[in-house]
């Protein structure tokens, strides 16, 4: 009897141990894979549908006994090395891996050669000008020497710092800074009380800006889950939220903002949707509007 219990305990312990091991490996792999549709997030962080699918793919591959390497290869065969956070060492990525060190080594070689030369020349000048004029002649040379010393020390440091700036996160930050002049629209949405009582909690809220004339394609769109109790929503639409590349907030002069609660969760306006529409307004770099969802879309 006792023996059986021990056996079962060992079995349970073993299973949970392998499970934990597998889980660790799983977590490590999804940390090392990039989510493709959301920048600067790994598969483990992202909540996008594709990330969920790829996570479950990783899990099923692990469960079927595939190694970490095989999984990375599977992913990069389909989504290129871009999907890997640690790009492999190849011909095309050689500079990426060793470039900074190469520059460091080259500049150190230059530094040593150069400083040697200038010392010799200053020695010479010491011998030649062994009189009162020594200081006058020497000091500009010395200055020059320090200038190059600093310059050559500066290059590797600068290179390394630029290199770190070229990381994706920093690039994102920098490009955000440059693009921050693009228009944003801040919107406070209030749902009318009568509509709020009709909300079941299964709806979604579409908030989008479109041109006041012409194409109805949203220039920027965001989607939220609606809850029964929430009356106000604060939303910011910006240039990155467009659906088509050329159709962004920055490309329009006059826009209309609409907030629509959809039971069917459809991008198209359907009868029975609750809607609030702003008047047309000229778009500036920073806009603020208040929107009331206070009407129902009627049958066409």
């Amino acid at each position: 009897m006792n023996r059986h219990i021990v056996f079962i305990l060992i079995l349970i312990f073993n299973i949970s141990a392998t499970y934990a091991e597998n889980n660790n490996e799983y977590n490590k792999i999804i940390e090392n894979l990039r989510c493709l549709v959301c920048q600067n997030q790994s598969l483990s962080e992202s909540d996008s549908n594709l990330a969920k699918d790829l996570r479950s793919k990783v899990k099923s591959m692990l469960d079927s006994g595939k190694s970490e390497k095989e999984i990375y290869k599977f992913m990069s065969d389909r989504y290129t090395d871009y999907v890997l956070y640690n790009p492999p060492l190849k011909k095309s990525t050689f500079l990426l891996w060793y470039g900074p060190f190469l520059i460091l080594v080259i500049s150190i070689i230059f530094l040593i050669r150069f400083s040697g030369k200038s010392e010799k020349s200053s020695f010479k000048s010491k011998f030649v000008n062994n009189d009162n004029e020594k200081l006058k002649i020497n000091s500009p040379k010395k200055n020059k020497k320090y200038f190059y010393l600093i310059a050559f020390l500066f290059i590797p440091v600068l290179t390394l710092s630029i290199y770190s700036y070229s990381s994706e996160y920093m690039r994102y930050k920098i490009s955000y800074y440059f693009e921050s002049k693009d228009p944003i629209i801040d919107i406070t949405i209030t749902i009318h009380n009568d509509i709020l009582t009709n909300i079941s909690g299964n709806e979604v809220l579409f908030v989008y800006a479109r041109r006041s004339n012409g194409m109805r394609v949203p220039l920027a769109i965001d989607i939220f889950d609606v809850t029964k109790s929430k009356k106000n929503y604060n939303v910011r639409l910006d240039n990155t939220m467009s659906m088509i590349k050329a159709q962004t907030l920055a490309s329009a002069d006059e826009v209309i903002v609409e907030a629509r609660i959809s039971k069917h969760k459809k991008a198209m306006t359907m009868p029975g949707d609750f809607i609030g529409t702003s008047g047309a307004f000229k778009i500036k770099s920073s806009n603020y509007i208040m929107l009331k969802i206070n009407s129902v879309v009627k049958e066409e």
């Binding site: 290179t159 920098i174 394609v217 088509i244």
Partner: protein, 172 residues
């Protein structure tokens, strides 16, 4: 006086600066497909309407477009008119890969908007799409008669895509 050695660090710096700045203007969300020049990944699924088995070998023999779409996908409804338009020219066959959709929703969508596809591969789990390296619908693959992927387009296709990408291939 500028020493000739001081030109070197400055020029190195400028070159690095150039590459970094050219990197800023690239769209990091566009990922080139590693599939180009390679055969279509193997798959086996059912068709959307008839629920018949369809595999990658069924599509061999002629150049075709493979359009990844879903009824939930807004970009797909934008490009749909163009796809109908391309189909009406009868110059190239178009197959659909119905991506992470529900059968009734997809059929409903097509009945409303028209069906430009010769046949539609139903991929509700998205596993075929993963093999194709799809990361968001709509995406369109141009595949030749030997089943080799020639081109991949991400996002809604338009008239320019037809003229620039499809026409040169058909006219060959």
């Amino acid at each position: 006086m500028i020493h000739k050695l001081s030109v070197l660090p400055i020029s190195i710096f400028l070159v690095i600066l150039y590459f970094l700045f050219s990197g800023l203007s690239k769209d990091p969300t566009l990922i080139p497909s590693p599939l180009i020049g390679k055969p279509v990944p193997e798959f086996s699924s059912t068709t959307l309407f008839e629920k018949k088995t369809i595999t990658n070998t069924d599509l061999l023999g002629e150049t075709y477009l493979l359009n990844v779409w879903g009824s939930w996908c807004y970009g797909c409804s934008i490009e749909h008119d163009f796809i109908m338009d391309i189909n009406s020219k009868k110059t190239i066959k178009i197959y659909g890969l119905n991506y992470k959709d529900k059968r009734f929703a997809a059929i409903n969508w097509l009945e409303k908007k028209g069906n430009p596809y010769k046949s539609i591969i139903f991929d509700d789990t998205g596993s075929i799409a993963i093999d194709f390296g799809v990361y968001g619908a709509p995406e369109t693959f141009l595949i030749n008669d030997e089943g080799i992927v020639i081109h991949k387009h991400i996002g809604p296709i338009d008239q320019a895509y037809y003229k620039k990408i499809i026409l040169p291939v058909i006219e060959k």
